[in-house]
């Protein structure tokens, strides 16, 4: 017990039983049901995701406790390279036989978003493999389910969401601890702590210990003294307003100190909103000139690695832009409805379309023995002319070069439907022919039709995609 007293409270008051886990009823139910049905479940692994401190790992431990599982844990503090995961996989695949002798097992892969790109190379792919062969349930946790590197897990694991805790729930947890620790607690102080924790119970408990332990009481006063409220950062709209309306250079310069925007983001917000704020064309042009110069400094930073230049970039994009309103200085204070940078919204679209264009250029470059930039500058425009003017012929070229439908869409513009129609028809034709040839060949060789059946099945799964790449590689030869 003496040992226990020395534990930090986040450990000491970690839920040990299922009913001690606050909130997250939905997640609880899902996990229990899934575990009971296992291995008769659609996806053989679970991925629990949610913000820090909402009880993901605790819940797994509590469930395991209650249902009598032994937890085999692997987390970010372990090396998780391909070979490390494979070791676990071997154990997991043979573990079934052990169940008779011991307790049921469960593999907990904690913090899968902490699998490092470089140091844990191949780790995530190995996890996917592990899930396939495992004879025991696998539960994973992560903070951000949208992390692109978790994409490989999406198809093999069921994602279970944990919600941010409500403030009331956090206060309840804190009160329980206060009672256990015999702390006199001040309602306002708990409220202050809970507000600041923003749904993170663990942070709240830590704060409570930091303020309360040893003092016998939790007061608002000490809470405020020790836990400074996080600096309130200005949102983009306030930032812009302050920047544009600045009368002095230093005022404009200082907006970045307390803003949710960093200089890169500010650059985009300004690009979007300069013409919203300024009405005179000369002022607008001047402001963009300042922004353009700021960007030149940013480029120079990239090339030289000299971060001292950042100061000048910031001067120009803050004070430089703000003080550009010379013809119409009253514009500075004009109430303006700022818009969110369209570029940020378009970014992913732009990325997609550039990717398509890059891929297209790569195909053309290989085909014609030229560089991708020549392909972009010379060949794509010509293809565009063909695709717009002669859909049927365009479709033939698309088939011949092994282009994807996305590429066709980009090239054909308004004509895309027609070209794609022709394209699909042509491909069917080819496939039919191919199938016929194969049959003929097989008839000749007198073989069974097993390999063909397998191929047919594969085709069903991912239709057009496979054929188009098959064709690409065919024509590359």
């Amino acid at each position: 017990m003496a040992q226990e007293a020395r534990l930090p409270w986040i450990i000491k008051y970690r839920p040990k039983r299922l009913d001690e886990v606050v909130d997250q009823e939905e997640a609880k139910a899902k996990i229990l049901e899934w575990l009971k049905k296992w291995p008769n479940v659609p996806k053989k692994a679970l991925l629990l995701y949610g913000p820090p401190g909402c009880g993901k790992t605790s819940l797994v431990e509590a469930v395991a406790n209650e249902l009598g599982y032994e937890v085999l844990e692997m987390n970010a503090s372990d090396f998780r390279r391909k070979e490390d995961i494979e070791k676990v996989a071997i154990r997991a695949s043979t573990m079934q036989s052990l169940i008779a002798s011991g307790r049921k097992k469960l593999i907990l892969l904690d913090e899968v978003d902490g699998i490092a790109d470089r140091e844990d190379a191949g780790g995530l792919e190995a996890v996917a493999e592990l899930v396939k062969i495992s004879k025991v349930p696998i539960v994973m946790t992560a903070n951000n389910p949208w992390d692109p590197k978790l994409r490989v897990l999406r198809e093999i694991a069921e994602f279970v969401e944990f919600k941010k805790l409500r403030k009331d729930d956090i206060i309840r947890i804190l009160e329980r601890i206060c009672i256990a620790e015999k702390l006199k607690c001040d309602k306002e102080a708990l409220d202050y702590i809970a507000t600041r924790a923003e749904g993170d119970a663990r942070a709240a408990i830590n704060d409570l210990q930091a303020i309360g332990e040893g003092f016998g009481e939790v007061t608002l006063e000490r809470a405020k003294a020790l836990l400074r409220p996080r600096d309130k950062e200005r949102d983009p709209f306030e930032t812009l307003k302050l920047l544009f309306s600045a009368k002095y250079a230093w005022q404009a310069k200082s907006v970045l100190n307390q803003s949710q925007l960093d200089y890169e983001q500010l650059k985009l917000w300004l690009e979007e909103n300069i013409p919203n704020q300024f009405s005179d064309l000369e002022d607008v042009s001047r402001a963009y000139e300042a922004l353009s110069k700021a960007d030149v400094y940013l480029g120079r930073i990239i090339r030289t690695g000299d971060w001292d230049l950042l100061a000048y970039a910031i001067d120009l994009m803050t004070a430089g832009v703000s003080l550009s309103a010379k013809n119409n200085p009253r514009d500075k204070d004009r109430w303006t409805k700022y818009s969110f940078p369209q570029r940020l919204l378009l970014m992913s679209k732009l990325k997609d379309s550039r990717k398509i264009r890059d891929d297209l250029a790569t195909i053309l470059a290989q085909h014609l023995h030229i560089s991708t930039s020549t392909a972009k500058a010379e060949i794509i425009p010509i293809l565009r002319a063909i695709f717009i003017s002669n859909p049927e012929y365009a479709a033939k070229i698309a088939v011949g070069l092994g282009l994807s439908e996305k590429m066709i869409e980009m090239l054909a513009g308004p004509n895309k439907q027609v070209v794609i129609m022709h394209y699909r028809r042509l491909k069917e034709e080819i496939e039919k022919k191919a199938a016929e040839t194969i049959m003929q060949l097989q008839a000749k060789a007198g073989r069974t039709e097993k390999p063909e059946a397998r191929k047919e099945k594969k085709k069903e799964k991912s239709q057009s995609k496979t054929t188009s790449t098959d064709l690409t590689s065919y024509f590359k030869k």
Binding site: K267, E271, P275, L281, E282, V284, S285, A287, Y288, E289, L291, S292, D295, V296, L298, G299, R300, I302, Q342, R343, L346, L350, S353, R354, K355, I356, R357, D358, A365, H367, L368, H369, I370, S371, T372, T374, K376, A377, E378, I379, P381, I382, L383, R384, A385, I386, S389, N390, Y393, A394, K396, I397, V399, G400, L401, M410, G413, L426, E429, F475
Partner: protein, 329 residues
């Protein structure tokens, strides 16, 4: 036109496979054939304008040296697509390492657009060329020989490819049309020659696109050229010059998303538009825009963000448009 189900780009379909098929650059061909005969050659430097057959000659040389299997013994690299000299080094190393069959005297590395490499990278390249010289010969291809550093030039046998003559290009185009059963008009072929500035690849590409419109006529040729360069760019320039800055910017973004263009791509197209008769602006405005574009392109090179610079350009154009109209008014 071709009856087959699928169709390729004619520029590749009608690329000569062997040195014998090369109809131009006779001097060069003769010297290259000598290499084939002797089964030995130094490093080569092919210099000359685009579309004069440099790559074709390199590939044909390889074909003639190694026969149908030639691809096995050739590594094709494009300097502007390879990221850094380190990548080139490792690729060449990998390639050079594999054993040579008894009858193959050496392998060939074809490095296209070598003049796009920095002087430092070329220094490194030179060392690579020396390192593997026992088993490997390089064919460097460049538009501008003066951008190849001295020490490389002096280690290479140098070949200068000259622009193709009108009659050569036209007769080749005519021959292709015959192969493809396409009706073509002499004046259209001549127009193609002029537009493509002696660049055979470009000429064949235009031919194919014009043929796609049915016949190869002068008006089809012009139509192709027009289609190839979307009128959106023109509209954006016009909008900006009319002072409709925000609108022009929005259109610009749309364009970039639709076609996947980068800022530099757009700027290059704008640069081309300045010289288009379809852009109806006084010549002195064109001149001023050309000046602006030079300045902004320089900034793009110096800067970090293409699009910021393009937007700044549009703002400048808007201001220019206003000044002009106020002068008129």
């Amino acid at each position: 036109m071709s009856k087959s189900v699928s169709e390729l780009l004619w520029a590749e379909k009608y690329r000569p496979k062997s040195l014998k098929e090369l109809v131009n650059q006779e001097e060069i061909v003769k010297r290259l054939m000598k290499f084939v005969e002797e089964r030995n050659m130094p490093h080569l430097l092919f210099a000359g304008p685009p579309g004069t057959g440099k790559t074709t000659a390199a590939l044909a040389l390889a074909h003639d040296l190694y026969g149908e299997d030639w691809r096995k013994y050739v590594l094709e690299l494009n300097a502007s697509d390879e990221r850094g000299i380190a990548v080139i080094r490792s690729k060449v190393k990998e390639f050079a390492r594999s054993k040579l069959p008894g009858d193959i005297p050496f392998k060939i590395v074809i490095l296209d657009e070598a003049d796009n490499m920095t002087a430092d990278a070329q220094q490194a390249l030179r060392r690579i060329m020396e390192m593997f010289v026992e088993t490997t010969r390089f064919i460097l291809i460049a538009n501008f020989p003066s951008k190849i550093i001295e020490p490389i030039q002096s280690r290479c046998a140098s070949f200068r490819f000259t622009p193709l003559k009108k009659e050569d290009v036209v007769s080749r185009l005519k021959w292709i049309c015959e192969q493809e059963n396409v009706v073509c008009h002499q004046d259209a072929l001549e127009t193609i020659y002029e537009i493509s500035e002696g660049d055979m690849r470009k000429a064949i590409n235009i031919l194919q696109a014009a043929a796609a419109l049915g016949e190869v006529t002068v008006s089809h040729v012009y139509k192709v050229v027009g289609l190839a360069h979307p009128k959106e760019i023109r509209e954006i320039l016009n909008l900006a010059l009319q002072g409709k800055f925000i609108e022009s910017r929005d259109r610009l973004r749309e364009l970039m998303v639709t076609y996947g263009l980068s800022g530099t791509d757009v700027l290059k197209q704008m640069h081309r538009e300045i010289f288009s008769a379809d852009l109806k602006i006084p010549e002195d405005v064109r001149v001023t825009i050309a000046d602006y574009i030079g300045e902004i392109q320089f900034r793009i090179v110096e800067g970090a963000d293409d699009e910021i610079q393009l937007t700044a350009l549009l703002a400048k154009l808007a201001l220019l448009g206003k000044k002009i109209s106020s002068m008129k008014g």
